[in-house]
């Protein structure tokens, strides 16, 4: 982030100042407090603050009067007014006098952080816009996205160029190639990065669950809906929503999704009120959506809405140059996680990896390295620690993981990949089963 945003809190109550002080310090802001308007104005004479958060009712000079004086000194300063009870009149007056917004005590933590983040986004953006004119954007938060190969560098360039815009993006690539990571990189480099990126794994949810997950529900919408609940689109307000496995959604959901994308608003399940939300959509799929449009499985209008930009993540076998880097990255990751000294890998083992086809892509490589660290001698990964050579028999499973993977595959095949039936037989819920399928990258036999 560019720099610390500064906040001045003005309130006559100790406990309010203390609480807010703690909250904002934890959030990484520079914070100062004043117990009355006079003190605040004198602080503001010598120091600039990005945001002033002021109580409306204080002994001596009240918040409204202080607001006017602050605005007289610096017209563009952001002042947020706190009211103890929603006295609409005074709050409206405050807005007329140039307050950025007002909040009613006590606030919802979610609302407070949203409000402050919005304000700081505005401040930082106007500063950044100045700088952007000369400076080339360099990608932030990319430490986890490894790749020096030309193919991956191309993907990084594409990420960089789309991240500043609001365009919808479809990320296409085989399972395990890093689509979700690419989505995160886009979000982390976009102006929306101060707001959440909300992920929805569409493939893991039934139609009705997906509906209430995406749009939220009102109390009493169905049995079990005892409270109102925000949906993912609502949570992604000002941020990004990532729809993974978009090709799996039903035709009914395709229609609903199209409507939301067109209007940027929706109604909670069982509700009446239109709720609007400002989100950016990023989707991922391992299918060829164009083909699905041609065969009538996916709506063409929705496809065009989503596919403003397309990023294709190449399979690992087409960027074998990256394998040594990735191997080192994962060795470091798992050794640190397992609290072990770093291991190395011998040349023969590396060669085996470079020649392997990796149907499960980076996820498969990642799992392999994790396993190799667990089963290996703790110093060097060698060929025998890798499950890719001919010598390893296909049906003797040493690790629990392999056993689990094999068992799940068998049960899935037994029930012809009917997920509900298989989940029942395995005595787990559907989501768990989906997660396992994803983890092991299982696919129905053709």
């Amino acid at each position: 982030m560019a720099r610390k945003v500064s906040i001045l809190i003005v309130d006559d109550e100790d406990s309010v100042r203390d609480s807010l002080y703690n909250w904002f310090i934890e959030d990484g802001y520079r914070v100062e407090c004043a117990e009355d308007a006079k003190k605040a104005l004198s602080i503001l004479e010598t120091e600039e603050f990005d945001i002033v958060l002021a109580d409306i009712k204080m002994p001596g000079m009240d918040g409204l009067e202080m607001l006017k004086r602050i605005k007289a000194i610096r017209k563009d300063s952001i002042v947020i007014i706190m009211t103890a009870f929603a006295t609409v009149n005074t709050a409206v007056q405050a807005l007329k006098d140039g307050a950025y917004d007002y909040v009613t005590k006590p606030f919802d933590p979610d609302d407070l952080s949203h409000l402050i983040r919005n304000a700081s986004k505005q401040i930082l953006l106007s500063e950044e816009n100045e700088k952007l004119k000369e400076k080339v954007v360099s990608l932030e938060n990319m430490e986890d996205l490894i790749g020096q190969s030309e193919a991956m560098q191309q993907v990084l360039r594409e990420i960089e160029s789309v991240s500043q815009s609001n365009a919808s993006v479809i990320i296409t690539g085989e399972s395990g190639t890093g689509k979700e990571l690419v989505a995160r990189a886009i979000h982390a480099n976009s102006p929306r990065r101060f707001f959440p990126m909300v992920c929805v794994h569409c493939g893991a949810l039934s139609e009705s669950l997906l509906e209430s997950e995406l749009f939220g529900h009102e109390k009493g919408a169905f049995t079990g809906a005892v409270y109102n609940r925000k949906g993912r689109f609502e949570m992604a307000d000002s941020g990004t929503i990532f729809l993974d496995e978009i090709a799996t959604i039903s035709s009914k959901m395709q229609v609903e999704l199209l409507r939301v994308l067109e209007t940027r608003s929706f109604v909670r399940v069982g509700g009446h009120k239109e709720i609007s939300s400002d989100f950016r959509v990023i989707c991922a799929t391992n299918r060829n959506l164009r083909q699905m449009v041609d065969s009538g499985e996916f709506r063409e209008d929705l496809y065009y809405r989503l596919n403003v930009v397309n990023i294709t993540v190449p399979p690992l076998r087409e960027r074998t140059d990256d394998i040594p880097l990735l191997v080192n990255h994962f060795i470091k990751k798992f050794c640190v996680a397992m609290n072990k000294p770093l291991v190395t890998i011998d040349n023969a083992a590396l060669k085996v990896l470079e020649e392997y086809s990796f149907p499960g892509n980076i996820r498969e490589l990642e799992n392999m390295i994790e396993r190799a660290i667990v089963v290996g001698n703790g110093k060097k990964i060698s060929v025998k620690d890798l499950p890719v050579t001919e010598g390893v028999a296909g049906n003797t499973f040493e690790s629990l993981t392999d056993l689990e993977k094999n068992h799940i595959t068998q049960i899935l095949n037994k029930y012809s990949w009917n997920i509900s039936a298989a989940a029942k037989a395995l005595q787990v819920d559907r989501v768990t089963l989906y997660n396992k399928i994803k983890k092991y990258d299982l696919k129905p036999a053709k």
């Binding site: 934890e26 809906a225 609290n339």
Partner: protein, 179 residues
């Protein structure tokens, strides 16, 4: 001051197994021996009858006077609905770069939101919350990395989106400060 250990004190009922598991996760994250034990305080002093919630500021102050001295970080664990005067609720809080913090499982339960109980989700959220508050006690502020446990979460679903681990950046900051 160099930290020697971390202590998790449970006030109210927690399954032993859950606490032990969380302690092991904490140990892994901060690389310090982590102990669990039970504590007892009269919570009625902290109950705000008008809000029907417990005052997290007063509670943290008490925890800090009782356990704030010494070379270990202490996190007090509760099962009650916490608030601070200005906010409708909090999951927990800690003194930034201090010795103590508090965390509650109360609002981490699905039941609180009218959803089906889910023990494993609760455990997952709880360990994230515990590690998060300890992170503050170790001087970490909120992190923008979407996977990092130090990412700010004001909503339970926000907690579900992140992992229970510190990102490399945050981890380095702790290692540098505890050296």
């Amino acid at each position: 001051m160099k930290q020697k250990s971390i202590v998790l004190i449970s006030f109210g009922y927690f399954e032993k197994e859950l606490l032990e598991q969380v302690a092991r996760d904490v140990e892994k994250e901060f690389l310090l021996p982590t102990l669990t034990r039970e504590g007892h305080i009269d919570l009625s002093d902290f109950y705000d009858a008008a809000r029907r919630q417990y005052n997290g500021n007063l509670l943290l102050k008490l925890i800090d006077t009782q356990f704030g001295a010494g070379t270990h970080k202490t996190l007090a664990l509760f099962n009650i609905d916490l608030f601070i005067p200005i906010l409708t609720y909090i999951f927990g809080q800690a003194y930034l770069n201090g010795q103590t913090g508090i965390a509650s499982a109360f609002r981490l339960r699905n039941e609180h939101y009218g959803l089906k109980p889910n023990e494993s989700l609760l455990k997952e959220r709880f360990r994230k919350e515990v590690i998060h508050e300890l992170g503050h006690a170790f001087g970490l502020i909120h992190c923008h990395n979407t996977q990092c446990v130090m990412r700010s979460s004001t909503y339970v679903e926000d907690i579900d989106q992140k992992s229970h681990r510190l990102c490399e950046n945050c981890r380095n900051q702790i290692t540098n400060s505890t050296k």
